[in-house]
Symmetry: C2
Subunit: 504 residues, 2 copies
């Protein structure tokens, strides 16, 4: 039997199994391992390389799946004749960049895999992340979290093994309802609340509750995820420009939707707050006909750094027309995968009828940990702390931006986790983002959040022009989203310096 | 200010906040607390009762939501005039059975709440659970699970805070792919796998990937959850009787669906295995036209107690037509909320295009714990152990069933977690189930898994008659599903004794 020596220490940073896979694959491609040769057993190779057996198994499995080796029952693993693979035109994907490339035609899979690798490489190189979705991970209360998990897991009753209530555990829904009432002015019974693994899942449920073929209206630019989710769920989705009046009563009556998706307390990505009169007008519009509803996505309302907090629209709703959506992705961590929606009583009944059979999508342990986190006061302490940290970064970023002449305007300040920077530059928005990314700075342009941008390029320009409104029609300035959730002060300084070099 | 004394030790087992809520509510209803009276502050009452402030807040919130008390800004909480509530006809829900009932007309909410309470009471009284979905919770490896959580949580890098790959972590997908290859003969690259919080969520994704308006064919009776999910997602769903040939080539060609949902290794609830020839015929059918796919739900194939394991259909698929669905709900625990699907390469590309923007629905910590559980060999050890335990219960149940003359036939044995018992009785299936439940034995009848049963009662009889096939047409015998996952041997003996008394 052949012996296989893999250098597991040197080379690029990659999982062990990938190194083993890559090594053997290379040996087969370059002909050092010949068709029909028997590979060592996973147990033997694992022993030789001092890795776990499952690591070797994963490597072998990858080789199996790609046709480099074959398994013969009770005999073991054997090298395949890969010339056959090439003749069939199903050449293997190139998982690791820089590995000796084999000849032959390139299949679709290979191209896709190369794209993935390129993207991975890109992601690995990001040193300064201004993404508006990124949060500060350095101040996560790991110790408290660990302690709560330990306490919850001490309970070895069957409670933690069964999936529990489909809407989420009653106690956790109570705790969230109390928090929402106090912090956001939301009025609800726990019976109206449904927990789910992320906003998109809840939006998929909503589409089912509202019934098929509904027309959803939203502002543009917007959370593209919500737009795409409602489209995927079979809704007709229309948009109005967020720039000029946005979801004004006239615009809404003109479009005549069934449902409006809105972010009244902090529109994403524009950062605007919907005026009180407009809120009342939309509540009135909704109450005029059965089947009309307002979806209030209150995604990052925890973070407001100046003025009074803006209470949720839901609290002003007296006719059961507001569906309230919230998440712990920004207030605790995206990895938690816990969002919630508060349904009007009428829709809560429809939910139980149409969707009551769904098991919850949130694991029981997570629910228990979150409940303790809220009930023991950690959540509000954490929020207060993060509010201070984000306010500090926000103020620091605004101060730094003053130093650059190309910053023509800063929008969406004093709330959330990003600002909009209008940049005066000979380069286009897309160019600036690309060049920044090449220098390790992750940044996005406002066009990236415009709905039609991806589907109908010509319409994009129209919408974008509409948004730009009063600005010069001949030259659209670049508008960059600078998220300050993730970067440190030092990274903000470095990032802006790099941007400065690119802009000029 | 009034003083409130709540007996938190005595009475029924209930959360503290519910006791406080119930006490104050009772005092208001019976008139010991009068309209306009001020309640103690949450801080004060929490101190007096030696409970946390959030407990009192939850109680107050519940009272607020139900209209027993009102909050006045900066002043505190006051008792409402509840006679008003009754005059408006929005009487309050009766959360706790046996509490003093108030007069007045009954609103819809109250009725719903009473239904809930009745169901809760029923659930609490179930002493012996023969549900086919229930698993053995007594042998869950709590200690290992705790240890893995502890190890995973020791890592306080940002990895655990970010939501990670939308398809699920690559490493976990590798581990599952290796397991599926070895245990089920499934061939896949991790790139083809998508993890999700439960089968229904993955089915909602599938409906999007396959495109709108697709016709899905499934056997009847079936997993009603899958039927309802595809319906909710906008698919047209048709059924063929599982009784006579089931998804035979003729039946399929007659119905001309786009997609077939099937459980070839162990049909639920019938417990049948699809013959090899029929599998090949369906694979051939699928390969004849673009857009045709087979969804293989391999839900409980881990448990087979006799004969060789039946490899998955996916492993026989050479033309990329099988979508493989699996879950850890039965092999580990339902509360885990981790399922997976393996897409053919062509659909994996559609997934990335249409659904690639969705964040994963599985929390990162759970993913890491599961990965360690599989990679360190605990999963297979646990499976082996549970297989032995379930086999033991299975054999014991079969042995016990021989003691009763009314057991005419036992079907679906030697695999999964339930058997079908045809019972000779003057009572109908529904009667038997109801009477058993009244005696604390949770049991279900085959009719409960018949699709049309809920929507079109006349069609139900037709379908059921078709299924009964060769049996006497004038008298349909009761077919009971006896799940042996949960009950102990002693409970099986007791449960059958109770059944025996009911049947005769």
């Amino acid at each position: 039997m052949i012996e296989i020596m893999v250098d597991l220490q040197g080379g690029a940073k990659a999982p062990l199994y990938e190194k083993i896979y890559g090594h053997i694959r290379g040996e087969i491609i370059c002909g050092r391992l010949l068709p029909g040769e028997k590979l060592p057993s996973t147990r033997l190779l694992a022993g030789n390389l001092a890795v776990s057996r499952s690591t070797v198994e994963m490597a072998y499995h990858q080789l199996l799946a790609e046709g480099y080796i074959k398994a013969e029952p009770c005999r073991g693993f054997f090298v395949c004749d890969i010339t056959e693979l090439y003749q069939l035109g199903i050449e293997t994907p190139q998982r690791t960049a820089g590995q000796a490339a084999a000849g032959g035609r390139r299949g679709k899979r290979a191209a896709a895999a190369e794209r993935e690798t390129a993207e991975e490489r890109k992601a690995a190189d990001v040193r300064i992340d201004f993404s508006p979705y990124a949060i500060d991970t350095g101040h996560f209360p790991y110790n408290i979290w660990r302690k709560l998990y330990r306490n919850v897991l001490l309970d070895d009753g069957e409670e933690l093994v069964l999936s529990g209530d489909g809407q989420g555990d009653y106690g956790l829904r109570c705790a969230i309802a109390v928090y929402l009432h106090r912090a956001r002015g939301v009025n609800c019974r726990p019976e109206q609340m449904v927990l789910g693994a992320g906003n998109e899942y809840l939006e998929l449920l909503l589409a089912q509750i509202l019934g098929s073929g509904k027309k959803v209206l939203m502002e543009n630019p917007t959370y593209l995820q919500a737009y795409r989710t409602f489209r995927n769920a079979g809704c007709e989705v229309e948009t109005v420009s967020a720039g000029e009046g946005g979801l004004s009563e006239d615009a809404v009556r003109g479009k005549n939707p069934d449902v409006i998706y809105m972010m009244p307390s902090h529109q994403f990505p524009m950062g605007t707050v919907m005026p009180f009169g407009q809120r009342l007008a939309l509540l009135r519009w909704a109450s005029e006909a059965e089947g009309r509803f307002l979806i209030e996505d209150d995604h990052d309302s925890e973070y407001r750094y100046r003025g009074k907090p803006i209470p949720a629209l839901q609290g002003q709703d007296s006719s059961g027309k507001v569906i309230y959506l919230g998440t712990f992705s920004k207030s605790i961590a995206p990895s938690l995968r816990i969002s919630y929606m508060v349904l009007p009583e009428s829709l809560a009944e429809v939910y139980r009828e149409k969707c009551g059979f769904y098991s919850t999508t949130v694991p029981r342990v997570q629910q228990e940990v979150l409940r303790a986190f809220i009930e023991e006061g950690h959540f509000e302490r954490h929020l207060n702390r993060m509010r201070g940290i984000y306010r500090g970064k926000h103020d620091f970023l605004l101060g730094e931006l003053k130093r650059y002449g190309w910053v023509r305007a800063v929008g969406g300040a004093h709330a959330g986790l990003h600002v909009l920077v209008t940049a005066e530059s000979a380069r286009t928005e897309a160019e600036l983002c690309r060049l920044a990314r090449e220098r390790g700075v992750q940044i996005s342009g406002l066009s990236g959040y415009v709905v039609e941008a991806r589907r109908e390029p010509q319409k994009k320009t129209a919408d974008r022009a509409a948004y730009d409104g009063a600005r010069s029609a001949e030259q659209t300035p670049a508008v960059l989203l600078l998220g300050y959730g993730k970067p440190t002060e030092q990274e903000i300084v470095q990032g802006l310096e790099i941007l400065n070099e690119i802009v000029n």
